[in-house]
Amino acid sequence: MSPPASSESRLVAPLARTGSGEIAEVVGQVATIVGYEARKLRHDPTELLLRAIQPALWLVVFGSAFTAIHAIPTGALTYLQFLTPGILAQSVLFIAIFYGIASIRERELGIIIKFLVSPARRAILVGGRALSASLRGLSQAVVVLLLATALSVHLRITVPSVAGVIVAVILGSALFSTLSMVIASLVRTQERFLGIGQLLTMPLFFASNAIYPITIMPRWLRPFAYANPLTYLVDALRNLTTPQGTVLFPLWVDLTVLLGVTLGLILLCAGLYPRMAQ
């Protein structure tokens, strides 16, 4: 028989939890999940670098060409001024909408069980991952704003406007990555997930005000544009970075819509998330 275990080495000592410690615990859990994503990106930043190519093409090729031909009415703004916030929003959408594929991979391998069996609430797991996805979105913001500067697009770059862009990009990334995780909880295979992701991105992109104003859309398409969260992300970014005009709503309306939809999706996804273990 082995010697009896000494009392201090016994594992049976669950962590005490007090009522006031609960908020601190939740904040700590969210910080842990975001920090984890940051470490993963640091180990393999390839995706971020590859993702920088597409906005560059849109701005340099598409933007410059359409600026030259004056085909799209953008009021007092040059087309590139109008386009830059749209391309930033589009980049955020494209990088976030496939975020759920990580969940599918984690489910296939079993990694997700490590999260689901922890005491963290489901909404915290989903919300934490949504915020993690914002790290990718923010990298896109840096790329697009640097490109715009290189192309001498005249944008309003002040401390409050940059702070606002950060908030809007975080909200937009969280929104579309949560939508992506909702899809990932519903479909079982990467193939189906990619199919649905592809199917969603183009309508979301074209039925929005990202590359042309809603006023030039056919009348039947406009309600879809107003129901499209991407429209509010574009509008928020235009509110923040363009000198004047061509916005649909005040900034607070845009941000409130983004926040409301994000929270709704997080709750929906938290309800679906336990399916990932089955």
Binding site: A5, S9, G21, G28, R39, H43, I111, I113, P274, A277
Partner: protein, 271 residues
């Protein structure tokens, strides 16, 4: 053997789970005291993993109930999760980050304060013989190291019960022996109750105080390996013979393909 006077830390009563017409787990009743290893053995599809998923709160029971570490699995899953560790059959370690980082995120989710987290992680890595590999990406680990890292991860918050689902599937004999030694050590040194599933009879014989032989969701025999072998009434009987007697030669067909594929995938990744 020392009779354990402590209250059992896992108590299942008539635990049942159905999937449509299939009853995967059929009114299972058992208890596991501290300091003991309880083994669930049975062929693929016998209901072992479903049982573990219910006890770890990942799956709701269809009927019956269970208490783990003093809390009801259906009514207080958060409290249960705080007190258990789980190493699933699939691979729960993330290959994209280091061993240390794998444990760091788990520590954070369990609310282990930052100041305490580092020392605990180093202690856990030390305990599982991984101290030298903490900063290595898990991608470069061997199969045995991955399993040991997962056990370290499941122990970080000092659980009262540890659930291990096929802990040595896909491991070579040397790595398997190393995992067995770690399980023995945990039980002896920390008094952790352990519930494990396996279809290696040798593993059940070596590790478990008590074994439940499952067949089609039910226990067909429960007892210590010695009792089960003696019960056969033939000299030199092995647990393999016990298994054959109760579970028969037939193998449950439904789900066998999926499970076989899954086991092989895990095995391939661990090599």
């Amino acid at each position: 053997m020392v009779a354990s006077s402590a209250a059992p830390v896992v108590v299942a009563e008539e635990l049942t789970r159905t999937f449509g017409d299939l009853t995967a787990v059929d009114r299972l009743t058992f208890a596991v005291p501290r300091d003991q290893v309880f083994g669930l053995i049975g062929p693929n599809g016998a209901g072992k993993t479903t049982t573990i998923k219910m006890l770890t709160t990942l799956l709701h029971p269809s009927d019956g109930h269970a208490r783990v570490a003093g809390y009801d699995i259906a009514k207080e899953p958060g409290e249960v999760r705080r007190r258990i560790g789980y190493v699933p059959q699939l691979i729960s370690a993330d290959a994209q980050v280091t061993g240390y980082e794998n444990l760091w995120v788990v520590g954070g989710l369990y609310g282990i304060p930052r100041a305490e987290r580092g020392p605990r992680i180093r202690e856990a890595l030390e305990l599982l013989g991984l101290a030298a590999f903490g900063d290595e990406l898990v991608r470069n680990y061997s199969g045995g190291m991955i399993r040991r890292l997962e056990i370290a991860s499941a122990l970080l918050h000092r659980p009262e019960v540890l659930f291990l689902d096929e802990p040595t599937v896909g491991l070579d004999p040397v790595a398997r022996e190393a995992v067995w030694e770690q399980i023995d050590l945990l039980k002896r040194r920390f008094g952790t109750a352990i519930v494990l599933t396996t279809h290696y009879m040798e593993e059940a014989d070596r590790l478990c105080e008590r074994v439940g032989v499952m067949h089609q969701g039910k226990f067909v025999a429960v007892g210590s390996p010695a009792e089960l072998k003696a019960g056969l009434g033939q000299p030199g009987a092995t647990l393999q013979d016990v298994f054959r007697r109760y579970a028969g030669e037939e193998v449950e067909l439904s789900g066998a393909y999926r499970e076989a594929g899954r086991t092989r995938r895990v095995a391939a990744r661990l090599e």
